[in-house]
């Protein structure tokens, strides 16, 4: 079991993002289907395109610091995804990466802190708050659980993010495209929250492989 004192290197982050890309690839149809219900049916293909290009870019010349890996990945998402999720996820990864600085190894504590900075940046960029039925409803619980530490913080973060995503079902959307539906957005799981939960699942898997 990995706890927050364990260190992560660039390779661990690389594995995280590769696992995320695989998860997105696997779940793309599902994400698009969710987006079809309360959005415009492109969230799966958007992230597929984005994460595929992240993997390609990292494969070409993988940076040697976790922060740099995340910054490169974030830039890649901004440049290839488009839509709302491109700038938001791009910002998440870039700001998290920037917060990590250029250390070659970072602790789980440092990652948790950096992720919180990244998630805050997403909230600021998109102007959304908890409960607005967006990716934040998975990101915040995830990063919260991670920061809380304990014997299995990554597993706890995954669970919290999953639950956060699920908790968007009864919410009425107040941001993003789903907000146009008003009451009709109730009863559907938010696609962005769902993909955010995948990121935590991928993270838990990647550190467990260590």
């Amino acid at each position: 079991m990995t706890d927050l004192t364990d260190e992560l290197d660039a390779d661990a982050v690389f594995r995280w993002l590769t696992a995320a890309a695989a998860a997105v690839e696997r779940e793309a149809d599902q994400l698009t289907e969710l987006d079809s219900a309360i959005g415009d049916a492109d969230h799966g293909t958007n992230l597929q395109r984005g994460f595929a290009s992240v993997v390609t870019a990292l494969g070409k010349e993988p940076p040697s610091a976790p922060g740099a890996v995340l910054i490169l990945a974030g830039r890649q998402l901004v440049s290839t995804v488009g839509g709302a999720s491109g700038p938001l996820y791009g910002t998440l990864l870039r700001r998290t990466g920037k917060a990590l600085g250029d250390a070659e190894r970072v602790t789980g504590d440092q990652l948790a802190e950096a992720l919180r900075i990244g998630v805050d940046a997403v909230a600021q960029l998109g102007g959304a708050a908890l409960g607005d039925k967006t990716m934040l409803d998975a990101l915040y619980p995830g990063v919260e659980a991670l920061s809380a530490g304990g014997p299995d913080p990554y597993g706890a973060a995954r669970t919290a993010a999953d639950e956060g995503a699920l908790a968007t079902v009864p919410m009425r959307a107040r941001k993003g495209r789903a907000s146009y539906l008003g009451e009709r957005s109730v009863g559907h799981k938010d696609p962005g929250a769902t993909s955010s939960a995948l990121l935590f699942t991928a993270l838990a898997g990647a550190v467990a492989d260590e």
């Binding site: 492109d42 700038p87 907000s179 146009y180 009709r184």
Partner: protein, 330 residues
């Protein structure tokens, strides 16, 4: 759902290759997804750049040319373009007089254009921005991402494009774009949903005998579903929705816009009903444009956009325009 395509992944690139073949007056960068006037940058002219998800054709690429846009950045289907496209487009059209970004109010478009503006300013390009937010179907903008940008975009691009064509400086072009944007309101209905190539099935279910009121242009379902209505009833509903928000006290420009799969003969019939309602409400119509201009792939349905127009706006609306999708006076 059958489509006239090769593979879903290449729909936008294939269309850009086609635009390139059909329109020698445009420079189409297929790889970077930018459509630019061949004579850009036009000396001493503010450059107009717009863009957004693909699937709304002729918007925006079809509105590139004299008197309208200098460049358009098409994203993937229904997905806002990425900042790199707009930055590159800005560089291609800037003659040193600055560039105006015309942005439909969707979270994705706003965020990506904002990032692009920052990058372009870093490169020393002066950038103005105007949001189009004309869809009255989206109410309570406090509890939503705000009104969506739809049909009004055409009027903003046309009128601001005409002023830019006359050599006005960025601040004036930006001001009139904002004025037009604030003078436009739209309302749309769908009789049948659209199908995106990637998904391959309709974006929502619409039972026989029902229609969606207040749809967007991305296959989103609307605010309300009702039993099917006649063309006249739809016109009453849509025009009243627009008027209750717009409250015009003078002449308006009217756009009777098809969503993509509604035959022109139906659109003209709908236009007659829209005209009837406006007559009944004593709203003088200065100009009427009928056709498929701001579409949603193969969605069946229509939208009505009205724009309060003063003398200057009318003059600029009538000014010459020469683009694939809109052309008159030259």
């Amino acid at each position: 759902m059958k489509m006239l395509i090769n593979v879903p992944e290449n729909v936008v690139a294939d269309a850009l290759r086609g635009m390139s073949a059909a329109h020698p007056e445009l420079t189409v960068d297929v790889e970077n997804r930018i459509v630019v006037r061949r004579d850009a940058p036009v000396a001493d002219k503010v450059g107009l750049v717009s863009g957004g998800g693909s699937g709304h054709e002729p918007l925006h690429g079809g509105f590139v040319g004299r008197g309208m846009l200098d460049a358009a950045c098409p994203g993937a289907i229904f997905t806002s373009p990425v900042p790199d496209q707009m930055t590159r487009a800005a560089a291609a059209v800037d003659s040193g007089n600055g560039v105006l970004f015309i942005v439909k109010n969707y979270t994705g478009d706003v965020l990506n254009f904002d990032m692009a503006a920052e990058l372009a300013e870093d490169e020393g390009i002066q950038v103005g921005k105007v949001l189009v937010e004309d869809d009255v179907a989206v109410t309570d903008s406090e509890f939503t991402a705000g009104r969506r940008g739809t049909g009004g975009t055409l009027f903003v691009e046309k009128i601001a494009g005409a002023l830019a064509d006359e050599g006005a400086p960025l601040e004036r072009v930006e001001a009139i774009a904002r004025q037009v944007s604030q003078s436009c309101r739209s309302f749309g209905v769908a009789l049948a949903p659209c199908t995106t190539p990637a998904k391959g099935s309709p974006t929502f279910d619409l039972p026989a005998g029902e229609l969606e009121l207040g749809i967007g242009i991305h296959g989103e379902s609307g605010r309300e579903r009702r039993p099917m209505m006649t063309s006249g009833e739809i016109a009453d509903f849509a025009v009243d929705a627009v008027l209750s928000d717009l409250e015009p006290d003078g002449p308006v420009l009217a756009l009777v816009n098809g969503m993509g799969a509604t035959p022109l003969i139906e659109l003209y019939g709908f236009c007659a009903e829209v005209q009837r309602v406006l007559d009944e409400r004593r709203v003088p119509v200065a100009r009427t444009l009928v056709g498929n201009y701001v579409t949603s792939l193969d969605m069946a349905g229509a939208s009505v956009t009205l724009c309060r127009a003063d003398e200057e706006m009318l003059r600029l609306y009538d000014a010459p325009v020469n683009t694939p999708g809109l052309r008159w006076g030259c």
